[in-house]
């Protein structure tokens, strides 16, 4: 008798199992390269630990030093807050205005050209940008000082990155006029997805120009604003490479941020345990800010009552 026996598992089950198997590979890699180092760092924050040496359990001593004894903690956190707040203000406003201007162009060809123009700076590596600013713009004989000299304002010439009074602001202003990059495209995509019916209704109600931008466009791109806000905060708390390249946190500790202080402790001073403690605190700061953001900053869908 030639009885036909079907597969042991049905198509649906096989498909699901395959998905799980493929996901398991990704999860395994994620665990090995992300979760294990994070937990390792968390545990090492309770140790006095140097690369190549035995580690010694010190309990909360590293955290005690960070919160109580280290005189750089408070200033570096304040610097980080200033730079992050500055970046948030800039990245939530300037690229949005640019995106709106591009979106308002009547010809598609013009919109395409400007989108490309504003995207091109993205291909310049961040390190190159920092070096250009440090050398060609803020340098002793850089563009800024030479412009001041040409304008007869020699008294305002200074070492922008070495002067304690100007260093932090100079670092914050890197990237001026802050219009190149993905933010413009993200906002542009948001603006493009506003339904025609909404725009037409606004026009019928006499809502045009700035009023339309503030009352219609901004609420409709709230999801994009929320995304940029989260990304900017995370980058503001975590990133330090620009400061490392331009000032190394100096003069003194005038541009030091916790991320950079963590790097110096880990790799220059070899105080890995202390660096891990800083890293753990940074993790909780980012985590806390993201949760706050998710909870209190409403997206477009939530504003429309769909969330």
């Amino acid at each position: 008798m030639n009885s036909h026996k079907g597969p042991f598992l049905g198509y649906r089950a096989r498909f699901t199992l395959t998905c799980y198997a493929l996901l398991a590979c990704q999860v395994a890699l994620l665990v090995v390269f992300v979760y294990v180092p994070v937990f390792w760092a968390f545990s090492k924050s309770f140790f006095q630990f140097e690369v190549g040496s035995d580690s010694r359990f010190v309990g909360f001593a590293n955290y005690g030093e960070l919160f109580v004894r280290d005189p750089t903690t408070l200033p570096s956190v304040l610097h980080m807050m200033f730079l992050t707040a500055f970046a948030v203000c800039v990245r939530l406003s300037v690229p949005l205005v640019v995106a709106k201007l591009i979106h308002s162009l009547s010809r598609e060809r013009g919109r395409y050209l400007f989108r490309i123009l504003f995207l091109v700076p993205v291909v310049v590596p961040g390190v190159a940008v920092q070096l250009i600013w440090a050398g060609m713009i803020y340098g002793d004989r850089g563009m800024l000082n030479e412009l001041l000299r040409a304008a007869g304002l020699e008294q305002f010439m200074t070492g922008w990155l070495s002067n304690p009074a100007t260093a932090l602001v100079a670092v914050a202003c890197v990237g001026f006029p802050w219009v190149g990059g993905f933010e413009v495209l993200i906002y542009y995509a948001g603006l493009s997805s506003i339904p025609e019916s909404v725009t037409e209704a606004a026009l019928l109600e006499g809502c045009t120009g700035l009023q339309k931008f503030l009352r219609i466009d901004i609420p409709m791109v709230m999801s994009q604003l929320k995304l940029i806000l989260i990304l900017t905060i995370i980058a503001g708390v975590q990133s330090f490479e620009g400061l490392f390249i331009m000032t190394k946190g100096g003069p003194g500790f005038k541009t030091m941020v916790p991320g950079l202080w963590m790097y110096f402790n880990a790799f220059s001073y070899q105080r890995m345990g202390y660096a891990c403690a800083i890293g753990v605190c940074l993790f909780f700061i980012v985590f806390g800010l993201t949760v706050l953001n998710m909870r209190y900053f409403k997206s477009t869908a939530e504003l429309e009552g769909r969330g």
Partner: protein, 526 residues
């Protein structure tokens, strides 16, 4: 079906890629020009491939300051070595000059066999087994000298005897009293000055510190930057020189330990244990008038320097005659001697000494030596990677043979004197004429201490940062002193934890020297 336009775009892209590849492809014969051995596929007879970081001064194929022919001296010496040892190949490698890189390589056992790094940076890691103590080799004959059969030659009995600057070389011993580096050559700093500007302004190379400040005032009034310095030269050279001027006079009362081997050259040198003890006695705090004065003198000097202490291209300011003086180490001589477009006459003088007019605590002695070992070679744990044990490693022997071979005078001269950059540290090898002034400076007494190399890297970094801030008027002297004392407090505590310092012995000696100190003024007192 693809259109002609599509074909054209793809063809254009292919042409651009091909042209770019052709432009960037290394020229054939580059090897012969640079002298860098470019072997990658070694034959079966090669047992040892030694990775060697010769350092920026000797890296084959590089052109120092963009002047002259590419360097090939060390490559030629290594080629001779390879001919003698056909089972060995040497690869020159260039590594990033950052400590982070080396630490990760060493901890994984992947560092080059011979690295070039300031040995003070090595000291903090010696207990980790990353570096090979070289004393057994230095105390044994150099086999390449021995084979010449002439017992009168330095190196016949001990490799150590070949070193010209004995005390500096031996003074590089780590806190565990073992030597981890070969002091390959010597370096010193000096003030390079523009003779034309000096003539125009009507000043001469100064004899005293006060004259120097006065000269710089005139140079500044004439519209030039008087002196070019960066943060590191303040933090390293200037601190040590001024410290020496203020403390040299009281050394008989505070120098508690005399190292028998090093004393011949490092007369009265204050080591880390002495500095720790003195700090506990109130030295180097707000109660120590000399220490407070030290920073004030540096602040006075800063008024005559370039605006940005983190500026990297000081040489450009000097050669374009925007500045009258530049404080630089020996190798800069080559930059000036080799520059055919240089439109002025230049000279070198050393930093002038303090007088009683400068400070009540001035020792009235000439400014001391702050230079010393230039290129310092260390042998890493990779060198005994074949057995994991330095005692049984054949590979380690070959690595050491390479260093011993390069230090033989006739080989050494081909390397160090290929161009006028650093001073030879092998007996019998002449000094090139243009850097002779630095050899003369090196004859002076050595500094009282080297602050940034005494404690850990965190101490040095924080001192540099806060000094920069203080010099740029970001903080006042009082706040700077608070930082500095906190910094010293942390550094000395770490040192006491790391090194078992015999404080009782220092205490005893301190009491013995009490009568000597009675006659001294300006000591820290309650």
């Amino acid at each position: 079906m693809a259109s002609w336009g599509t074909y054209f775009r793809w063809a254009s892209l292919a042409v651009v890629v091909a042209a770019g590849s052709w432009l960037l492809w290394p020229r054939s014969g580059d090897d012969s020009v640079t002298g860098i051995p470019q072997r990658r596929n070694y034959g079966g007879g090669v047992k040892h491939v030694i990775k060697f970081v010769p350092g920026p001064q000797y890296m084959p194929g590089t052109t120092p300051f963009g002047l002259g022919a590419p360097l090939r001296g060390i490559a030629e010496v290594v080629r001779d070595f390879e001919e003698r040892f056909p089972d060995t190949r040497v690869e020159f490698v260039s590594v990033p000059g950052v400590r982070e890189y080396l630490v990760t390589q060493l901890s994984s056992g992947n560092a080059p066999d011979i690295v070039m790094v300031n040995v003070e940076d090595v000291w903090v890691d010696v207990q980790k087994g990353w570096y090979v103590p070289l004393d057994p080799y230095l105390e044994a004959p150099n086999p390449f000298i021995r084979e010449k059969g002439n017992p009168s030659l330095p190196g016949y009995e001990q490799w150590w005897d070949m070193f010209k600057y004995q005390a500096i070389s031996r003074g590089k011993a780590a806190p565990d009293n073992l030597n981890y580096c070969i002091s390959f050559d010597m370096v010193e700093t000096g003030i390079f000055y523009n003779k034309d500007i000096f003539r125009e302004v009507g000043v001469e190379p100064p004899e005293t510190w006060d004259d120097w400040l006065l000269s710089m005032e005139k140079v500044k009034a004439a519209g030039y930057i008087p002196l070019l310095m960066n943060r590191d030269s303040f933090n390293d050279w200037a601190v040590d020189l001024v410290f020496d001027q203020l403390y040299c006079g009281i050394l008989p009362g505070i120098d508690l330990v005399q190292e028998p081997v090093r004393e011949a050259y490092l007369q009265g040198y204050l080591d880390w244990d002495e500095l720790c003890f003195l700090f506990e006695q109130g030295f180097f705090t707000q109660k120590d008038p000399r220490y407070c004065e030290l920073w004030k003198h540096l602040h006075d000097l800063r008024q005559y320097c370039n605006q940005n202490l983190m500026g990297t291209d000081l040489a450009r300011e000097f050669v374009t005659q925007r500045a009258a003086m530049l404080w630089m180490p020996t190798p800069f001589t080559y930059r000036l001697t080799g520059d055919r477009q240089l439109a002025f006459e230049w000279g070198i003088f050393y930093v002038p000494q303090f007088t009683r007019k400068t400070s009540d605590y001035a020792s009235n002695t000439p400014m001391c030596v702050i230079g010393g070992s230039g290129t310092q070679y260390e042998v890493t744990n990779s060198a005994f990677g074949d057995t994991g044990d330095p005692a049984t490693s054949e590979r380690l022997k070959r690595v050491m043979a390479l260093l011993q071979f390069i230090m033989v005078p006739e080989q050494y001269e081909r390397v160090v004197n290929e161009y006028a950059s650093l001073l030879p540290n092998v007996v019998g090898v002449p000094v090139l004429a243009s850097i002779q002034p630095f050899a003369d400076i090196l004859e002076r007494q050595y500094t009282t201490t080297k602050w940034i190399f005494t404690f850990d890297l965190k101490f040095a970094d924080i001192q540099a940062r806060m000094l920069e801030l203080y010099l740029n008027d970001g903080i006042g002297q009082e706040e700077f002193m608070r930082w500095q004392v906190d910094n010293l407090n942390t550094a000395t505590r770490n040192l006491l934890l790391r090194k078992d310092i015999d404080m009782a012995r220092l205490e005893k000696r301190w009491r013995e020297l009490a009568p000597v100190r009675e006659a001294m003024e300006g000591l820290p007192r309650e």
